[in-house]
Every structure is written in C-alpha cells, then in structure tokens.
C-alpha cells in the first residue's frame, strides 16, 4: 500500500472510530471484530488499550495501569504471558497492588469471561531490589482479549516515570493522564515524533492527558542501535513546590524552587564529585609521582596521562555519572567504571595545570535524541571531559580500552551536554571532529607463472573506522582465529593469503591491513570476469525492509574510497568494464561515485561512498533503499578481460 495513503488513513481513523472504553470488561463490538491491524498486517497481537492514570497522594505517585490486548495469530499467544518489572529496593520504593486480570473469549458468539485469581500471579524477587510480577493467562486462544490492571506506588516524586506509548505489539490506543496537585509544579519532558505531531492533548483543572493512536510495534531495524531515543514518551521533573498554608499568622504560601539553574545543578554535581575526592589534588599527585609527564606541550602531557590511566587501571563497570568509589578507593583498587576513570584523569590533568572540566551528556540509547533545555539532571548518564590543550578545546573520553587519546565513544557523539564549572555550569554544543575514512587500494594482475589472478589489497582505516577494525582484530586474536577470517566471507570464491596488520591508531590514527585475494586457475579461462572492488560492506544492500519506523543512523560521517588498478596481462585485452555513475538522494546526506579510466596497460577503477549526514529520517527511507541498491549493484559489477589468442 502507498505509504502516504497509509499515513492518511492512520490520521483519519480516530475520527471514525468510537472511543475505547478504559474499563475492564467493557469491550466494544469493534474490538471483538478486529482480526488484523490495518497498518501492520500480520501483527500477532494488538494492544487495543493502554491507559495510565497517575496522581500524587501522600507523597507517593500512584499510577493505575490498564491494558487490553487482543491475540490475532497463534504466535500472538506469547502475549498471554505478562511480565511487569518494578524496583522494590530495600524500602519498597515501588510496589504493586490491586492486581486484576481477566480473559474474554467468544464462544458461540457470546463473550465468556474468565477472571484470574491469586494463583495465576507469580511475584519473583530477581535480586538487587528488582522484582517481577508474572501473569500467565489461561485459555489463551486466537481472538482472546486479555485485560489486566494494577496500581503501582512510587515513592519518588521528584522525577516521574510518566508513560511510554509504544509496546512490543502495535498500539491502537494509548492514553496517559496525570493530576498534578496545586502545591507541586512539574516540567513536562515530551519526546518522539508522534507525540509532537499526532497526540491529542487535554489540560483541565490540573489534570493533563496525552493520547496517541495507531502506533507501530517496537521492532529492531538495521542501522538503529538506540531506538529507545526515538520512542514516544512523556516524563515529568519537579520544578517547584508550595510551602506554607497561607492561613493564620504563617504568611502566604511560598513557592520554593526545586529545579535549580544550570549553575546550581552544576555546583551540586561538583560538590558530589568533591566529596568523592575527585577534585582533590594530593592523592592524584602522589599517584603520578613515578610517571614523567613534565615535558612537552599540554597535548603531549594530556596524552601521556591518558595512556597512564588507560593502561594502569582496569576499565570495568557501567558508564554512569555517579561513582561507586571515592578517588582514594579507585587509586587503591586500580579498577573503575569509565566515569570514575575519567574523573581521575581530570584530576591528573588539573594537577598538570591543564584546564579541564567534566561535561555530562545523555548518551545515545539513554532515551533522548535531543537535550532537555531546562536544568533536569536525569537526562544525563555519562561523562566526557572538555580540556583546553595549548589553546585548543578538545573532548576527551576513557570508555574504550582500545581507543587512543582523543577518541570519544560513539555513543557519546551527541549534540550537547552540561559543562560543569564552579558557578558557571552551562549547556554547551558538542561537535567532535574526526576524519573517519576507509581507503582501499587494490593492485590486480595475472601471475603468468601460476596462472592466478592476484589482487594485492591495502586497506587504510582512519579514526573510528580504524578503531572498529582494531576491535575486530582483537576479537579474532582473543578467539585465537586467523586474520583471514576478516575477509573470508566477503570474498567467497577467492582465496585469502598473507594478511598483515599494522595498528598505528595511537600514532597516526590508522589501522592498515594488507592481504592478497587470489582467483586460482584464472589463466585457464578465455574470459577473466571479476569484481575489482570486493571489500565494501555496501556491496550488499542492508536495507531490505519495505518501510522504516525509526531513522537510519550511520553513527558518524565517513568516506570510503576504493581504487583498483588492473594491469592488462599480455595476451589479453580489456573487453568490458562498469560504466561511470554518480548518485545521491534529495538533500545529499549520502553520495556515491564510480569511475573507470582506461590508461592503456592499466585500468583504474575508483569508487567513493560518502556519508555526510549520518542520521537519515524514515521519510527518506525509500530513496535511501533505492540508492543503496544502486550502490550494491555497481560495487558488484565486473571487469572483463578477454584472451586475444596471441601473446
């Protein structure tokens, strides 16, 4: 179906469909009749209703949840097993109560309702304060309608979890409402393309609601590791509260800010890190007494300090803005999470007289594609450093034990972060410059003695392309596997020989690999037909799905250049070759050129694949898919050499 038409139907549908009942057991005829989700045919189940209703009562957030799910296929029966995870902690931080569930089946055209009792609910203590309520619906059949509701109490009212609209099955109707008491004020944090473009919103007497309809199910898509950042969601951060009653002699009610300014928020974090010892100079100076970091430029000093921390501390644990250990504990244990290591690194740089400060960021996959523009701490999960080295600002990271100085984990390539500076913390833009390229050069010739067509290949990967290769090489080494495995799959019919690796990532930002790919018995054939550019992973189109829900994320800008020089062997002529091509898609976020030059005894083939803007929206998916298919076709095109019969 035409996608535009689909969208139009999706927009129009709410006007025609009657309102879903949000009460258990009130199932409409349309819901009984539903056999398929029109915009997601073949879906195994549909979430007919998802409804959350929150209020704050006695300092606790109480949310009443209600779900109605219909099983549409045999495979959809898996939706009859429900798992609800919650954090109980040591003080019952979250608790579930009032659990009700029932299943309705049509028997002879009449609804038969089976209510679940306590034996059907199973509460499991998963450890570390996490619990999980499990419900297994009896008599689940294709056509069954499952309903369940429960109340969750949450003692944390500073930040409210709110509501996520998408689920593992397509959602036909999802509504969240919250009643905010008069004495509290929250800032709403909304996220997701649908929430901003399609949601129905109401606001009445302190009750706010958001409704979304006809949402796709959550499914993984290639080139999108962090789809969580694009889900539709509302959350709330307490911004101020009212104290005083305004009666008698106590004076009028007063609002107290809960949400600070960026400056205050930054100072609180700095105070936290200070109590953990990360802003104290003495221990760190003792730590590095034995290491010579005295000479050279600031850049050289920072580099020496980076390698000292990277190579003398074990990097283990979750990247997080809060630290488990104090600085002295870290220096003693020699093992820490990336956040702890980077703060220790900051201490070393400061002790060397280098200006540097932490920058808090919300990494990719943490749930947000854009920064929240008010002082809201929960949006941050990881730390970078911003240092001034010889007058130049540079972002520094310590997440990846293989990464050289100056590399920032790709999940931290976000648009903005909070720079922590005493009394002057502020949001700053993050723009990490790098030239991540892959340069492939192949020299192709027929060996007259062996009759083999030999391709001598050299690949030079720079920056993040190089780091990616360094990881692949390490993984093969760890598994005791030969380096030929790097290329075996790509080349199939060719034999891979003489692989050599030169990792100069630290000195020159490159990982170079040389190897031979060999077509045996080539001389025996009258026509030599081969693909001169075999190494590109884009020789196969990764985008095979019909449509796209989330953006395509290539993660960073990069360029791949392939050059093949084919020597025309004696006794052969160049018979045929791929034609030139230059293509892109509207807006030119991505481009490809292919060129053939006949230089007489040599044919030179050059292809360039360039990603200029790594995030491509779903609207451009059709163009991108066609583009990538054209690239794949071109990269698979052969050169043909023909025997002339005379040498």
């Amino acid at each position: 179906m035409n996608k535009k038409l689909l969208i139009a139907i999706a927009v129009l549908l709410p006007l025609f469909s009657p309102g879903q009942s949000l009460k258990m057991g009130e199932i409409s005829q349309e819901e009984f009749d539903l056999k398929e989700v029109s915009y997601e045919p073949g879906a195994s189940a549909a979430c007919l209703v998802a409804f959350g209703d929150s209020r704050i009562f006695n300092g606790t957030l109480e949310t009443q949840y209600f779900y109605r799910v219909k099983i549409l296929t045999e495979a959809g029966k898996e939706h009859a097993d429900i798992r609800i995870r919650y954090y109980s902690g040591t003080g019952n931080v979250e608790n579930l109560s009032g659990i009700k569930a029932q299943i309705t089946n049509l028997e002879g055209g009449k609804p038969v309702v089976t209510k679940l009792d306590k034996d059907d609910f199973f509460d499991v203590d998963l450890g570390d304060g996490l619990k999980e309520l499990r419900i297994s619906f009896p008599n689940a059949q294709v056509g069954s309608i499952l309903e369940y509701s429960y109340k969750k109490g949450d003692k944390n009212i500073e930040f409210l979890d709110g509501w996520t609209f998408q689920r593992s099955a397509p959602v036909l109707f999802s509504k969240y409402q919250i009643k905010i008491p008069e004495h509290l004020e929250y800032k709403t944090i909304g996220q997701g393309a649908n929430l901003f473009s399609k949601s129905e919103r109401t606001s009445e007497y302190g009750t706010f609601s958001w409704t979304l309809r006809d949402l796709y199910s959550l499914k993984e898509e290639p080139y999108m590791k962090n789809y969580r950042d694009y889900m539709d969601r509302v959350e709330f951060q307490l911004s101020r509260y009212m104290s005083g009653s305004g009666s008698g002699y106590s004076g009028g009610p007063e609002w107290t800010d809960f949400l600070n300014s960026w400056e205050k928020l930054g100072d609180e974090l700095i105070a936290y890190y200070t109590t953990k010892g990360f802003y104290r100079g003495n221990p760190i100076e003792r730590e590095i007494l034995s290491v010579d970091m005295s000479g050279g430029t600031e850049q050289e000093k920072a580099k020496a300090a980076y390698y000292y921390v990277r190579d003398n501390f074990v990097n283990e644990g979750s990247d997080w803005i809060y630290t488990d250990q104090t600085l002295p504990q870290l220096l003693k244990s020699k093992k820490g999470a990336p956040g702890e290591l980077i703060l220790a690194y900051m201490g070393i740089l400061k002790s060397l007289g280098i200006e540097c400060n932490p920058v808090l960021i919300g990494s990719k996959g943490y749930g947000r594609s854009e920064i929240v523009p008010f002082p809201f701490l929960n949006q941050f999960d990881e730390i970078l450093l911003l240092a001034t080295l010889d007058g130049q600002q540079q972002f520094l990271d310590l997440s990846d034990p293989l990464a050289p100085f100056g590399y920032v984990d790709l999940d931290k390539h976000v648009s903005a972060g909070l720079l922590l500076q005493k009394n002057a913390s502020k949001l700053i833009e993050i723009d990490i410059k790098h030239a991540s390229n892959k340069l492939v050069f192949s020299s192709i010739a027929l060996d007259p003695e062996t009759g083999e067509l030999v391709m001598d290949n050299a690949i030079r990967n720079t920056h993040y392309e190089g780091l990616a290769y360094a990881h692949r090489i390490k993984s093969l080494k760890d598994e005791n596997k030969p380096m030929e495995d790097l290329f075996k799959q790509t080349y199939e019919a060719f034999e891979i020989r003489n692989v050599s690796v030169n990792d100069q990532l630290e000195d020159k930002n490159t990982v170079s690999i040389q190897f031979q790919s060999v077509m045996k018995d080539a001389a025996a054939q009258d026509m030599l037909v081969f693909n001169p550019l075999q190494i590109s992973e884009f020789a196969k189109n990764p985008f095979t799905q019909d449509f796209r829900v989330f953006p395509v994320d290539f993660e960073y800008t990069f360029r791949e250049t392939y050059t093949a020089n084919v020597a025309i062997p004696a006794g052969y002529v160049l018979d045929d070759y791929p034609t030139n091509e230059m293509i892109t898609i509207p807006g030119s976020p991505i481009g490809f050129t292919y060129q053939t030059e006949n230089l007489g005894e040599l044919v030179k083939i050059t292809a360039k694949f360039e990603v200029r803007s790594p995030l491509i929206q779903p609207e451009s998916y059709g163009d991108l898919k066609f583009f990538m298919e054209s690239v794949a076709s071109k990269l698979a095109s052969p050169v043909i050499l023909k025997k002339t019969g005379t040498l």
């Binding site: 997601e40 045919p41 073949g42 879906a43 195994s44 296929t73 045999e74 009859a80 199973f122 499991v124 203590d125 450890g127 570390d128 499990r134 297994s136 689940a140 059949q141 199910s217 499914k219 244990s333 020699k334 093992k335 050069f441 030079r460 090489i473 760890d478 598994e479 005791n480 030969p482 380096m483 075996k488 199939e492 020989r497 003489n498 692989v499 050599s500 690796v501 030169n502 170079s512 040389q514 189109n541 799905q545 019909d546 020089n565 045929d576 791929p578 034609t579 091509e581 060129q595 053939t596 030059e597 230089l599 066609f626 298919e629 054209s630 076709s633 071109k634 698979a636 052969p638 043909i640």
Partner: protein, 624 residues
C-alpha cells in the same frame, strides 16, 4: 591524481611493519589462576546428599577474578548450607576480605521462557586490585534427592592451571553408584568401611586450557545413583529400563481427562480409521488449543502437571502437554509413550552407557507397525510425526509401564527430507529492471523453517525474509503467499511471490550482464547432510539483446555430488535449469565444508552476458 595516490600507498606500504598476522596460534596458554581443590560428595541412606567443596585459587591477574566467582544453586529441593571465603594478598600475607553465607548476594535465575520457577542462586564476587591473591572458599550445599548428582570437572575454567583436584564420593554401599570417567588420567582409590563405600579420584598438574579447547578432551567424571528417590518416589537406575519405569510411576494417575474433554476427543476422531489420521487430528487439536508455558517448580521439574490442569488452563510445559496428548491418544485407543530427551539444536548426544538422568525435555512416541510417529507437543507448527532440530537424531528414553528402552529419533538426512525446488519467470526491460514471479517448494527440514516464517513473522518481516533470501538482491515483493501442504509427517511448504527486481542486469560499457540469479549455497544447506535443489528460470529478454559467446553448461558427477547446469535460448527466452544433488559425509569438518561450498558456488552460480544491439553506452572511459 593516480600517481599521487600510488605515491601515498607506496609510502604507507613501506611504513607498514612487516609482521605477519596470518597465523596467530598462541603457543602458550595464558594462566589467570591456579586451583587446588578437594570436593566431598556424601550420599545418605535417606537418598539425600551433601556436597562439600574446599578450594584454593591463586588469582594471578584481573582476568582470573571470574574464576573465584561463587554461584550456588538452590530451589525447593536444594539448599545452600555453608559458605566461607577468605582473600589473602600473597605479597603482604594480609587477609583483605572475609565473607560468610550472609554476605552472599541472592538472585533468581532469569529465563525469558520460564514463567513459573523457583530456581535461584546465591553468589559472591571477589574484587581485588593487586595480584597475586589467594582465595580460599569452603561451601556446602545439600539436596533432598539423589536423583541428579553433580558432575565433576577438575578444570572448571579456561586459562586455569590445576595443581591438584580430588573428588571423594561416599555412599551407602547398598544404594550403589555408577560413574563414567572421561579423559581422567590420575588416581582412583576405593575402600569400604561399615557398609559405606568411599571412592576418591585425584588429578594433579593439569594444564591450563585455551578458550578454543576441544570439549571432548575435557577431563570429567559423570555420576549416577543406582537406588534413588525423589520425594516419595523411589527407583533404580541400574538400567535404562529401571529409570524409565520410575518415570512412568512418577506420572502415574496424572493422565485422567475430565469427562467432557474426553467426550470431545472421541468426537474428533469419530469415523476415522487410519491411526496416523487419528494422531494427526488430535495433535492438531492440541497445537491449536494449548500453548507452551515453562513451569519448573520443585518436583514439578520432573513430574507432569495433571492432564486435567492442562485442560483447565489450556497451557502446560513439555511434560504437561506431552502427558495430555498421551491421555488424548489413550482415550482414542492409541497407545503412546512419554519419552525423555536431551534437547537442543546443538546438543551433544547422551552417554548411552550410563543410565541416568541426562534429559531436559519430553516428547511423545506413538508406536505403529512400522516407524513410530514422533510428536513434539510444545510446537504449534510442526506436522504430526516430524521432530524439529531441537530433538531429532539423538538417543531418547521411551518410558512405559514397568520399563522402557533407549532408542533414536529420526535424523531426516535423506534427500526427501531436504529438497528445495523453484520455478521463476522473469521479464526484463530495456533498462535492466525486471518483473519476477517465483514459486518455490520446500520439503522436510527446509520446510520447517518456512513454517516458522509463516507462523511467527508479520507481513513486513515476511517480505523482508523474501527479500533477504532472494537469490537476486534488490527484490521488491508485490504479492506473496506461503502455504502449508504437509504430506503426512513430511513438512512441505509452498512459497510464491510476484515482485520487481531493481537492476537485475548490470550495464557495462558493452554489455548487459545478468546479476547472479541462481543463488549460492551456504552452510545452512549442508546441515542436514543431504540436499536436492532444482532451480528453473524462464527469462524473457529485451528484443535487442543477443547472447555474447556460448551459454554455460556445467555437468559434474562425483561420489557425493551430482550437478547439472543447462541454459538454452528459445526465441527471446532464456531457459535455465540447475539441478544439484549432494550427500555430505558425516566426517566432513568445517574447512572441508567451506571448500565444498566454494567449489559448488564457483561452478554452478554462473551468469550470462548479452550484447545490446541497438544502444550505445555514452559513458566511455575517460582516456580511451
């Protein structure tokens, strides 16, 4: 530009260090820790046991800390009795950590498939900054049943050297004990005192194992009781028959069907005489109306839910669904046997000479006058009589009243179980794009996967499956259908689609070249040890295209491989037929398999060149 580029590469090539990484086999296995350990397994008269472990681990590097991680399983039948740990800094001699049972963490074993279970563990993780450290651990767990005895693996971790390891098993002589030694090279000492037999196995100086160590070479000791009990059910495992008889007793009386359900079962097979047909009808009823839910609670890990409960809830685990199916067949006067199996698509076969509980799954065997009908009761996709790769081709224990026997499930390794046929019609336009109509038939093991695609994927995923598995890339599926046409136990699926092929032909300066369209064979084609594949194409070409050169013809006939590729032009239609027939020797290793694939793909995935007689390409090489 060219010279400049070449220059860059010459320099960079010179700069490359000429270390060859082609072969990276480490000569010495790095040692992360050194273990000395003594274990005592004490079996008691009341069929309980206790397992005491006393181990010292010298951790020499951070990677070895995982070797000191303690995880002690418990549930309703097993409990953790004792745990003591001490960590010493071997440089200073100081104790840096002590821990006891109360200091252990506690967590549930998390399974995405199991809803109801009581499997939990207590754990303790050692942290240290300086090495070497010595970690001393004493632990004791006890079990209410000797039905399942722990196995002994003297080298429990890779990169761990073992100076000494011993296991002493003490058991009342009258209860008996069986064991199987695998790759043990140390000493064994046996003695009996006052009706208690004690056997000690000792191993010394065992070398560290690399991560790619062949598990078949791993030293280990498998143990099994002779007389045993679980809850109030006692039995003897002296033979497979004894274990089978006990399992039968454990489920005895749990197959009673509610009367109304029994009536429904009988109604389903009224007027049906053929036994297979009856089995099929009832199996399909089970598949449609009951779903699999994993339940592992106490003795319920081994004993089935009652058939009545499965009927009540319309769900059950493998035991419950198999037991219900057995009861349904009983109601229809068809005897069947509850059968134990060690399931898993990559699972190794059981040790057939050690009758013991080596099973993790249950299937049903329906004896007939010829081959038995096998039923995988947790599947709602497979046809009656076909087992998927989860349980095929392995030894299983068939249980029946008073005994049972070991037998093997089918291997489905003949051509009839491994066949793929396809017929495609392609119409090419002048620009190299094409319309395609393909019909495919999958038989046996290949059909089973298509059943999964049909049953478990939504439309977008099914279209994507067609696209990714198309022998020509760039397929845009328009219409498609997937149909099931099982022939009794033989799964058969038919798949048909109409679509567009973007750039089916590549335009070069002189030619149009069809993109490879016959499809390469991959490792998945060889997993079932035989293959028959027949692909036929009718390709309608643009009128102006003429074949360039001879059409390829390939014929190959070897001991295990027959292949034929034929192409012919009739008017403007290119007809292509490829027929491959393979029998893969069992002993073929991965490298040989890869070589075989390379050989077939090189020989049989051929394409065709055409000359366009009307158009001239405008993109001539720049300097020609």
């Amino acid at each position: 530009m060219f010279k400049l580029l070449l220059g860059i590469f010459l320099i960079s090539n010179l700069a490359l260090a000429q270390e060859s990484d082609t072969v990276l086999k480490a000569e010495e296995v790095p040692i992360h820790s050194i273990l000395s350990e003594a274990q005592i397994l004490t079996l008691h008269e009341d069929f309980t046991y206790s397992h005491h472990v006393d181990r010292k681990i010298v951790v020499v590097s951070p990677e070895g800390l995982d070797h000191a991680f303690t995880r002690l399983f418990y549930d309703k039948l097993n409990s953790v009795e004792e745990f003591e740990l001490e960590v010493r800094d071997l440089t200073s001699g100081k104790t840096i950590k002590k821990a006891r049972l109360k200091d252990m963490g506690d967590a549930a074993y998390y399974s995405t498939s199991t809803i109801f279970d009581d499997n939990r563990y207590k754990y303790f993780e050692v942290a240290a900054a300086k090495f070497p450290i010595e970690v001393s651990i004493k632990s004791q767990v006890s079990s209410k049943s000797n039905f399942f005895l722990p196995r002994w693996t003297p080298v429990p971790n890779f990169n761990q050297k073992v100076t000494e390891a011993s296991l002493t098993v003490k058991y009342p002589t009258r209860l008996g004990l069986k064991y199987k030694e695998l790759n043990l090279k140390g000493n064994k000492k046996e003695e009996e005192l006052a009706g208690v037999t004690s056997i000690t196995w000792s191993e010394r100086d065992l070398a560290a194992q690399p991560r790619d160590f062949d598990s078949d070479e791993d030293p280990r000791l498998l143990l099994a009781p002779v007389k045993f009990a679980l809850d109030q059910y006692s039995g003897e495992m002296g033979s497979w028959s004894g274990l089978a008889a006990w399992q039968f007793e454990l489920n005895q009386g749990r197959d009673v069907l509610p009367e109304d359900f029994k009536e429904k079962v009988l109604q389903l097979v009224v007027g049906v005489d053929d036994p297979y047909e009856k089995v099929k009808i009832l199996y399909e009823y089970l598949q449609k109306n009951f779903r699999y839910v994993s339940i592992q609670l106490g003795i319920g890990g081994w004993q089935t839910m009652t058939a009545a409960d499965v009927v009540k809830y319309s769900y059950g685990d493998c035991k419950g669904l198999t037991n219900l199916m057995k009861a349904m067949l009983d109601a229809a006067d068809i005897p069947s046997n509850y059968t134990l199996v060690f399931a898993g698509s990559d699972a190794e076969d059981i040790e057939v000479d050690l009758p013991s509980n080596q099973f993790n799954h249950v299937i049903l065997q329906v004896p007939t006058s010829s081959h038995p009908i096998w039923l995988e009761c947790t599947s709602n996709l497979l046809p009656a009589g076909y087992l998927g790769d989860f349980t095929k081709n392995r030894h299983v224990l068939v249980t029946s009243k008073g005994g049972g026997n070991l037998t093997k499930t089918p291997s489905y390794d003949t051509e009839e179980w491994n066949e793929i046929r396809s017929q495609s019609k392609v119409i090419l336009d002048d620009r190299g794009n094409a319309k395609i109509n393909t019909e495919q038939q999958f038989f046996g093991n290949f059909a089973a996967y298509i059943l999964y695609v049909k049953g478990n994927l939504d439309e977008r995923q099914q279209r994507d499956f067609l696209n990714r598995n198309s022998s020509v890339s760039g397929l845009i599926v328009q219409d498609y259908r997937i149909e099931v046409a099982n022939q009794d136990s033989l799964p058969v699926t038919e798949l048909a689609f109409d679509g567009l092929l973007q750039k089916f032909s590549q335009m070069t300066a002189k030619r149009a070249i069809l993109r490879p369209f016959l499809g390469k064979l991959g490792p998945s084609h060889l997993t079932n040890k035989s293959l028959k594949k027949v692909d036929e194409y009718e390709i309608e070409l643009p009128a102006a295209w003429k074949v360039d050169g001879d059409l390829p013809r390939v014929s190959l006939e070897e001991e295990n491989l027959k292949g034929l590729l034929e192409m012919a032009i009739e008017g403007k239609t290119l007809r292509v037929r490829r027929e491959l027939s393979l029998k893969i020797p069992t002993e073929l290793d991965k490298e040989e398999e890869a070589e075989l694939l390379r050989k077939i793909n090189t020989a049989f995935d051929r394409t065709v060149f055409f000359v366009n007689t009307t158009t001239t390409q405008s993109t001539s090489p720049a300097n020609e």
